[in-house]
Symmetry: C2
Subunit: 110 residues, 2 copies
Amino acid sequence: MHSPELLKGTLQTILLKVLTDNGKMYGYEITQKVKELSMGRILLTEGALYPALHKLEAEGLLQTETVLMGKRVRKYYTITPIGKSLVKERVAEFRDFIKTMSSVLQVQMA
Amino acid sequence: MHSPELLKGTLQTILLKVLTDNGKMYGYEITQKVKELSMGRILLTEGALYPALHKLEAEGLLQTETVLMGKRVRKYYTITPIGKSLVKERVAEFRDFIKTMSSVLQVQMA
DNA sequence: GTCCTATACATAATTCTCTTATGTATCAAG
DNA sequence: CTTGATACATAAGAGAATTATGTATAGGAC
C-alpha cells in the first residue's frame, strides 16, 4: 500500500470489486490494474495481496485456477456467486462510510 | 469504534476536525458529538479515544486544561495553531482518498 | 438504601491488518 | 551476465484499534 492508514480495511473490497469488473485475473495483474485505476496512488504490496487472496479463497468468495505460462506459474482468481453478493454489500458499506464521514467532517465529498 | 475496519486511520482526523469546529471540548463530550454527527454510526471507544488524544497532545497539536466540575475531573482539549494547519491537510488527504477509491471501485460517491 | 446507567478519566492485553523483509524462480533487454 | 520486470509465497514486526479492566462521581429507578 502506498497511501497512509486510510486504506486499512479496504483491500478486500478492492479485490472483490476489481475481480467483479474484470473477470479472471491473477495476482500481479490485479496490482497493475489497481495501480492504473488509482493513477499510481494505490500500490498493493505482495505481503498484503497474497494473504488476502488466500483468505478470500478459503472463505469461498474466490476460486482459483492454476495455469502454466511457459515455465511460469500463474494463479487465476475468479469471483464466486457468494463473492458477487458480498461485493455489493461491501461497496454499499463503503458508500455509507463516506456519507457518515462527510457528515462528521462537515465536508462535501463530491 | 462501531463501524468496521474502514474507520482505521480516520480517528485523528475526526478528533482534530471536531475540535476545530467546536472549540474547547472534553473527551466524553467528543464521543457524544461524534455519535450525534454520525447519527449513531461512529461510537468512539475509550480505549481508542484517550490514547489518541494523549498522542495529539504530545505532538503539540492539542493543548489541555484540567477543570474540576464539583468533584469530577474534566480535561478540556483545544486545538493549537499547529493542529489547525494539520487538520486542513488531513481533511484534504481524506478527500483525495475518497476520489481515488471512487475511481478504483468505479462508483459515484456523491 | 441499593442497583443500574450515565458520566469521566485511564491503561493493559489482545487482535487484526498491513508493511517490510526475505525467499524462490522465469524472462527480456542491453 | 546483470538488472528490472514478472510471479508466486511466507514470516517477522509495526501500528491502530477493540476488548477488558480499573477507579470514581452522580442521578434515577425500585
